[in-house]
């Protein structure tokens, strides 16, 4: 068996970890906040403990271990935190900010720290102290008439899922791919996307509370209206719309977030379009676009590449043990054996039987005209790849895509590249060709998915590598840099990036954009204590 580990191996690994825990961070200068000596850091830790309690400051090797784990390459130790502090409420966040301002302590806020493919909880530069907001984990309000929710940072999608079930509320959530362990706020602030008609998470966000670096508490939109009750109902408020500047940003610390939830439909019917050839992605894209624009396909459509799908449930050695990247014919053979094509497109219909009966033949005929098979539960029920997206398109709980992190073996390793493009067949064809060329040159398998919104699409490329092999990690890093640069030359920039490439991607958005961000940062956080380096903003 290639996938498991033996009991003897587990015990050996556990022993090695216990040994690591005996070390002290004080001996590792690279972990310390920049320009801060050890005595000052020790004083900071004492002050933070006075705010949150002894148990909720982590400043030694053993207790900070959890905050260092990520799947991205980090050969030079550039994303190692100095420690972590976990407040329980807004008042403690304010008190921590006061300490951070006084000592110039950089804080890297996280909600659950499960930013898969982008660095998990790790900061943009070493020495930052993680501001772990997971203890703030309350669902503060759930309006069952409006279908709105107000959550704190630590609330996971699993928690909301359970809350809806426990209270028999007629709503669905929309999840990112690793929903059970991920924060709704965290994913929304990173502008993540999902799979139901409410798949554009930031679009469905309504109102937030932000603590600024000076301790000011700002409620956006309608949130500051005296005796107001419209905070989660109306997004725009009055005057400049501010919510956007607190997403993918380091301008403040978001402590409450409002979201809209999708009414649970009476009937849900998932579909899979199976396309056999790599080049079919262009025709599929052009078929999806008009139906997404007129909302006849209401949900976030995923065009899943066969290798992306198979990497969930297999390791690379299960498919191929030869030299070089996995040949196309090998991927095709394994795809056929699993009843999937080279591209498998997932969409769904939601409503009543009558509504779905009216829509289904229109869509089926359109996709069939591309030469694809249009399949339903009747043909694909029980197939794990169909079941995976069927779960996601109804906001269900799954962690199956965690599987791709261990594609190369037990060390794990995956870093994401997500360029956006107009939803046109010429774009998907071009991006697929360019990504395949670059990744194959560096010896990596191209495992893609396209998430199609209305007029745009996100190309999700997980660069899977062996983090246990430094040379492989180095190649992954160089391959990622080449992809960002060469896609950028074609005008294709990423919508989000790993902590290791935030500055590189920010450069592609131009000097004026960076300058404006820098001015806002200087105005709101003059000591640059909140997440320096986030999205390339110092």
């Amino acid at each position: 068996m290639t996938g498991g580990f033996s009991r003897r191996e587990v015990m050996a690994i556990g022993g090695a970890m216990a040994g690591t825990m005996a070390m002290t961070p004080m001996a590792r200068a690279r972990m310390m906040p920049q320009d801060m000596d050890r005595d000052v850091f020790a004083a900071v830790v004492r002050e933070l403990r006075a705010i949150v309690g002894e148990d909720w400051v982590f400043a030694d090797e053993a207790s900070t271990l959890s905050y260092r784990k990520s799947g991205i390459p980090d050969l030079r130790g550039e994303h190692v935190p100095s420690g972590a502090v976990a407040p329980a409420n807004v008042e403690q966040v304010q008190a921590i900010l006061a300490v951070a301002n006084r000592y110039r302590l950089p804080l890297w806020p996280i909600s659950t720290g499960k930013n898969m493919g982008y660095g998990m909880a790790t900061p943009a530069s070493s020495g930052q102290m993680i501001l772990d907001l997971k203890r703030m984990n309350r669902i503060l309000d759930f309006d069952a008439e409006l279908g709105t929710i107000l959550v704190e940072p630590g609330v996971t999608y699993q928690q909301i899922h359970d809350y809806i079930e426990d209270n028999d509320l007629p709503y669905w959530i929309d999840v990112p791919t690793v929903g059970p362990i991920v924060s709704m706020m965290g994913n929304t602030l990173e502008r993540g996307v999902g799979y139901t008609p409410y798949g554009d998470h930031f679009f469905m966000q309504c109102g937030m509370e932000v603590v600024l670096a000076d301790g000011t508490v700002l409620k956006t939109g309608m949130g500051s209206v005296e005796n107001g009750n419209t905070w989660q109902a109306f997004k725009w408020g009055y005057g400049p719309y501010l919510d956007g500047i607190f997403t993918q940003s380091n301008f403040g610390i978001v402590t409450k977030l409002g979201m809209w939830l999708m009414p649970r439909p009476p009937v849900y019917k998932p579909f899979m379009v199976r396309s056999q050839n790599v080049e079919d992605v262009a025709a599929i894209t052009d078929t999806i676009r008009p139906f997404r624009m007129n909302n006849l396909i209401p949900n976030g459509v995923l065009i899943m590449g066969a290798l992306y799908q198979m990497s969930m449930f297999n390791r690379r050695a299960d498919l191929w043990d030869g030299d070089g990247v996995i040949p196309l014919e090998v991927i095709q053979r394994h795809a056929r054996a699993n009843d999937i094509g080279m591209w498998n497109t997932f969409y769904a219909l939601y409503g009543t039987d009558e509504m779905i009966a009216a829509m289904e033949p229109i869509l089926t005929n359109a996709f069939a005209a591309t030469g694809a098979d249009v399949l339903t539960e009747a043909e694909m029920g029980g197939n794990p790849y169909f079941e995976h997206n069927k779960t996601l398109m109804r906001g269900g709980m799954t962690l199956e895509e965690k599987g791709l992190v261990r594609w190369w073996g037990r060390s794990g390793g995956a870093v994401a590249f997500a360029p956006v493009a107009p939803a046109k067949g010429s774009e998907t064809g071009g991006q697929t060709a360019l990504a395949t060329e670059i990744m194959n040159k560096w010896g990596f398998d191209y495992a893609p998915a396209y998430a199609v919104g209305g007029r745009e699409l996100h190309h999700i490329i997980f660069l899977m590598f062996d983090k246990g092999d430094d040379e492989h990690s180095r190649k992954a890093e160089q391959c990622m840099e080449e992809m960002i640069n060469r896609f950028g030359e074609r005008g294709w920039a990423a919508y989000r990036s790993s902590v290791s490439t935030m500055d590189l991607v920010a450069q592609q958005y131009g000097d004026a954009n960076r300058e404006v961000n820098a001015r806002i940062k200087q105005a709101l956080d003059p000591n640059h204590i909140i997440a320096p380096g986030k999205q390339g903003i110092a």
Partner: protein, 117 residues
Amino acid sequence: MQAGKRRWVALALGLAVVAGGGLAVGLSASASAQATYEIEPREPAYLYARTCGYCHGHNIAPIIRGRSLPPAVIQSIVRSGMGAMPAFKPTEITDTELEALSAWISQSEADPEEHGQ
């Protein structure tokens, strides 16, 4: 058409018009807010089902039940995140919860429903 269906259609039509707005219709009053920061320790089986069990015994990660794995080793792996596994912090699974969870996993019987690597 049933009342429930009519309500959903109204909401769906509202969505088509205002792209995500939805119409307010007469459902019951708001559910109450959740209460607490400092939650009571959650039971091991509850935690396993909502975290570990999505991967372990589900084709993604090795089966760990019924193997008498030492609790100390389980705790160490949970905190550090072995290989592809994410690390889980004390703010996600408290030390008290992890102690009970690791003992439960160590002592648990193999689950015939679990499968895979």
